[in-house]
Amino acid sequence: MNWRVGIVVDLRAETDRVASIALRLAGWPGHRAGQHVDVRLTAEDGYQAQRSYSIASAPDDAELVLTVERIEDGEVSSYLVDELRPDDELELRGPIGGYFVWEQSLGGPLVLLAGGSGIAPLRAMLRHRLRSGSAVPVRLLYSARSQSELIYRDELADAGRRGGVDVRFTLTRERPDGWQGYDRRIDRELIAEVAWPPAERPLVYICGPTAFVETAADALLALGHDPGRIRTERFGPTGG
């Protein structure tokens, strides 16, 4: 798996802290929804830093999209969110990952549980589900601190109006006027409401900060779901 160089063709601010980077890559072999890439930055003096980012675009999207959250003291994330410009080059390798992937042939029903920037690989899965003509029923629960921190909010709300797709949001630090969604951290009751019962044997993908993932996974196990049908990906800082 070799390093290759992509060109930044678009940058979009998703929230105050989060940006989506669209890249064009010659010879990109394609990816499966849920996979990630490793990004490597090199300073002029040779100093290097490397991080992994989930691919937020669907397998058949024209451009590869990475959605990056600027984390405190993050030397790579602050560069990607604040400094990168169109036509810049970005070195990356991938696609990587055979565990946290969903494709329509795996069936469902599908439960997607996202915490914060963990929505990125799940958005790739959702887009794939919508584009592939799959009829697999899907339920997405997306937890964020506040409305302004919901990434891809309009796209997800639109998706939720499609047949067989149910999208719900929960905010953990805010309850805006007229808010129709949930307003608490995920817990067993919330997950029981959103997920199908264990008898339906849903495929569940959970992505977000470690605490979010563990709470969700523990809740699903306590509800009787098969651990073999639950896939988890924990996000967090990796810089030393």
Partner: protein, 90 residues
Amino acid sequence: MLDGNAIAGLTVDIFGVDMTVAVATCARCGSHGPLAETAVYMRGPGVVVRCRHCDAVLAVVVERRGVYCVDLSGLSALEAVTDEESRIST
């Protein structure tokens, strides 16, 4: 603390193939599951992979000047499927 997904690229460097779906068995407590589900600590002098159930060290990877030193002695087994389909995903 993350999980084995965070070292997927590293396993490609070391093993030549993504090992996150490989089943890892803890030499201390016997629990087993995909490497993707192990507890991974990356912010340090090396990568430490621990058993989620008993915290035992399963594997340690230290990079010294471009060479990976890999210790797998905490694993009693690491079983990877080698069919073509899983190769294509890397």
